[in-house]
Symmetry: C2
Subunit: 290 residues, 2 copies
């Protein structure tokens, strides 16, 4: 970080980049992790979040990595590989979808519902009963903003309660998702990862040769040291169809003695490995709803 | 299958259910795998494809399982677990996105582009240069149909060449994806899997206990028999947040002696296992474009 950008930072609040409009679930995750005093900076694309941190415009970035219903956020996995940032934390947010409309709009007057296709899909049963036209859009909070700006009185959006409050709109119904157990895990990104706390996780991405037993041998480095694997995910490389990178999360900090040995062992058993970061494990607070 | 439904089948062509409108990439995959003489039956949702086969309305179903750029199709993984169908084949299709509009529309007249959000994202660079409004919709071919039916002369859709032909529209540009190496792998579903051919794959889904080394021990069943693991994927269960099912593809047919032993071994090392099917491996024909 240059002296000039350090000077700039001192003169202002800590800035955290996220994807989406103000009122997006990602902004709620920023508030959950950092508290209310940071500046949450909206970005159009996921890659803009990474760029904002890389170019020292924001101290931190926050991106979703997986949803308990939908699975992995593919783009985030790819960007972790492309950019040279570190994961320095994680946080879990309960997603509580609401139907949001103008103050004057009654539930029976709603003819069209806008939202991100995943949010529409997650509320399939409620929306089917409501029997209105569904229009996919890029963003949950962005749909609320658009309905407000265009004064659409026969429309509603699937979005968070916070989006309703922020744009001074009304919550017509809440808890409208088919499956109420809907959580998203977010990663916090910065230029350095976090110091060991004793309750950490390490994320790596690696490639293995395509011969029988190669993944087995790599995982043996964890198993023989009794280290818990918390997540494994394969993602296609962009270069060659059906060639995969494997993302692995395991317990422990890369500076812990056992983990240092694991990483050395993995280096010998893989054709490529990149440590994405070590960071304190999130505690899953099932009751907390934003 | 009941006698009545067998009688119905004899009186008509083999029917294959797929998701999307006629002209969708899935319909092209049906034609690639089964030839031109089958009846391709459009379904609104992925689950409708599974239902159509389960209820003997279609002999086969075809669903996308992974894309070389975007990764896994999460919904398909979940439906494979929920329904009791078998994977009896796979096929790979090169995805070649085109910009499709009315015969009279010139490229410079296009103000709005409609398509599935993934298709819009995959053509990001081309569409940014074009500089028009992007509107996400449910379907690539469905967007072509809608532009035709509504007579939108200032609009275009990202879709296949086949969709353009089918709806008698014009291809304004082809090969517009950022990454030309764009392939989708589809699974063929039926009530039974396929007979051994000597070049087969087997797909299973399993759960393991959350203790160190449990995935390692399960994969050992493959490694010690020198069987190649071709794919591994973890998906959240819908019941409990951050509890995963693991989907594994490996080489060989479940009736092969080595694979029978693997499956017996896996049964003992997992808390749950379901064989999704054994089927002939697709040969990836890189040059073929639909």
């Amino acid at each position: 970080m240059s002296d000039a950008s350090l000077m700039n930072m001192k003169a202002r609040k800590i800035r955290v980049a996220f994807q989406g409009e103000l009122g997006a679930y990602s902004e709620s995750a920023v508030r959950t992790f950092f508290g209310s005093k940071v500046e949450a900076k909206p970005c159009i694309k996921f890659s803009d979040v990474f760029k904002s941190v890389e170019q020292d415009e924001s101290e931190f970035g926050l991106v979703p990595i997986e949803n308990s219903t939908e699975g992995s956020v593919n783009q985030t996995y790819d960007l972790l590989l492309d950019y040279d940032l570190k994961i320095c934390g994680e946080t879990v947010l309960k997603i509580d979808h609401c139907l949001v409309a103008h103050q004057q709009t009654a539930l029976r007057a709603v003819k069209v519902v806008y939202s991100h296709p995943q949010a529409l899909a997650q509320c399939g049963e409620f929306l089917q009963r409501l029997g209105c036209e569904l229009v996919p859009s890029y963003d949950t909070a962005g749909s609320v903003k658009m309905i407000r700006e265009r004064g659409l009185k026969d429309s509603a959006a699937v979005a968070s309660k916070r989006a309703a409050e922020l744009y001074k709109m009304k919550v017509l119904a809440k808890g409208i998702a088919d499956n109420p157990n809907n959580y998203t895990r977010f990663l916090i990104l910065s230029e350095k990862d976090a110091k060991p706390t004793g309750k950490d996780k390490t994320s790596v991405v690696l490639s293995i040769r395509h011969v029988p037993g190669s993944l087995y041998k790599a995982l043996g480095e964890l198993a023989k040291r009794n280290i818990n694997l918390t997540r494994i995910e394969s993602r296609p490389t962009k270069r060659t169809p059906w060639e995969y990178n494997i993302y692995i999360d395991f317990e422990g900090h890369r500076k812990d003695d056992k983990c240092t040995k694991v990483l050395k062992g993995l280096e010998q058993k893989t054709s490529f490995i990149k440590v994405l970061g070590s960071y304190p494990k999130a505690t899953l607070n099932i009751d907390e709803t934003i």
